[in-house]
């Protein structure tokens, strides 16, 4: 009987230990704006991204998207309870990124979460191919003396400005590996430019933990392939995920999906390789 009690107690303890999540809290919050020109005649609508820095991990995500999603969910919740047709006020940033990047400082490995269609995916990214060349140029960004560095990373040439006085080896998106926080980074075509807008040392810290939500683990290569397919042919991905659309109308008139495809701009991801 005693041994049975011990076994039961131990199994409860095991469950408890496994269900514990790594706890960290955000010490520093950096807000970046993303600008640049996705193509020659189209200036990107500026959006904000947040980099939360904790003791052991960092989290990079679209701040606007996270706020918009919670607003949209609350609208849906209220209206669904009322029954009938649901109307959603479009205050959300539909075109904001779903990508959330967690990086472990100890291992240097990132865990990237994203949504493709109806499914949540995640992949592991080691970012070992980011090799910087430090340059003598200096500039002042947000009152911090910054040093210039160049790197070629996954098909694009980058120019970055980092602050050696801020001892955080990170930056926006997945960029890292400089001896100080990256406050500005852009590619030589100016397709993407992240510019630090504010750096806040938090008094009221909030929890920072890697998402435990259900997601499918895939390789980075598989993710990239799937993402491109999703961009170029969303309907095919929808169908593969069990979602089917009727013909429908655009602005009240029947539409031709082939015509729509012709108007689409080229898929131009941040990582080309």
């Amino acid at each position: 009987m005693k041994s049975l009690i011990i076994i039961i107690t131990l199994s409860f303890l095991t469950v408890h230990v496994y269900s514990q999540q790594p706890t960290d809290s955000t010490l520093v919050k950096i807000v970046y704006t993303l600008g640049g020109k996705p193509d020659s005649n189209h200036k990107r609508a500026s959006t904000k991204y947040t980099l939360d820095i904790g003791r052991s991990i960092s989290k990079f995500y679209s701040y606007e998207k996270s706020v918009a999603d919670s607003l949209l969910i609350s609208q849906l919740e209220i209206q669904r309870n009322l029954g009938g047709q649901i109307s959603i006020n479009n205050s959300s940033k539909l075109a904001a990124s779903d990508k959330v990047i967690y990086r472990s400082f100890a291992s240097g490995i990132s865990m990237v979460f994203d949504i493709i269609g109806m499914v949540d995916y995640r992949y592991i990214d080691s970012v070992k191919d980011l090799i910087w060349k430090l340059l003598p140029d200096t500039a002042n960004i947000l009152g911090y003396k910054c040093t210039k560095a160049n790197a070629h990373f996954r098909g694009r040439n980058y120019e970055a400005w980092f602050a050696p006085d801020i001892p955080i080896q990170g930056g926006p998106y997945i960029y890292c590996g400089l001896p100080g926080l990256i406050l500005n980074i852009k590619d030589d075509q100016n397709t993407f430019e992240f510019q630090a807008l504010s750096i806040e040392q938090l008094v009221n810290k909030y929890p920072l933990a890697i998402s435990q939500s259900k997601s499918t683990l895939i390789s980075r290569a598989a993710y990239r392939k799937l993402k491109e397919m999703y961009y170029n042919n969303p309907e095919a991905i929808a169908n593969s995920q069990g979602l089917y659309f009727g013909q429908g109308t655009i602005n009240g008139a029947p539409y031709n999906p082939e015509e729509l495809k012709k108007k689409r701009k080229l898929y131009n991801p941040i990582e080309l390789e």
Binding site: L34, P38, D39, H42, R44, A45, T47, D69, L72, I73, L76, E77, R80, G84, Q85, I86, S87, I88, N89, N90, S91, L94, A95, A96, S97, K99, D114, I115, G117, M118, Y173, F192, K227, Y230, Y231, P234, E235, A238, G242, L243, Y244, F245, G246, Q247, G248, T249, I250, N251, G252, Y255, P257, L260, R264, K265, N268, P269, I270
Partner: protein, 95 residues
């Protein structure tokens, strides 16, 4: 009585116009269908999506699931985003 009805009618009209300016998307749950062979449940609905690039899509959609539970809020959002991506392209996202 007529006056009250007129005021009511006008205020409903005005509020729907105000909503139109704010770009409303509408979704309506239509029906559920059970496929006995592959044990999947198909949920269908209709919606109007006022996309981020201005085009308005109206039509029906069906989603195969393994439960009888109707669409969750997250599913509604993702279905809307599918159409938005198809119609607008989302070139602003650094994917």
């Amino acid at each position: 009585m007529k006056k009250i009805l007129l005021i009511l009618f006008l205020s409903i009209g005005a509020s729907s116009m105000a909503f139109a300016k704010n770009e409303i998307r509408t979704v309506k749950y239509l029906f559920t269908m059970k496929n006995v062979l592959d044990k999947k449940v198909t949920h269908c609905g209709e919606m109007t999506v006022y996309t981020t690039c201005g085009a308005q899509w109206s039509g029906t959609f069906c989603l195969e699931q393994e439960t009888y539970a109707p669409f969750t809020d997250t599913e509604y959002m993702r279905i809307i985003r599918f159409k938005d991506l198809e119609l607008c392209g989302h070139t602003d996202i650094p994917e």
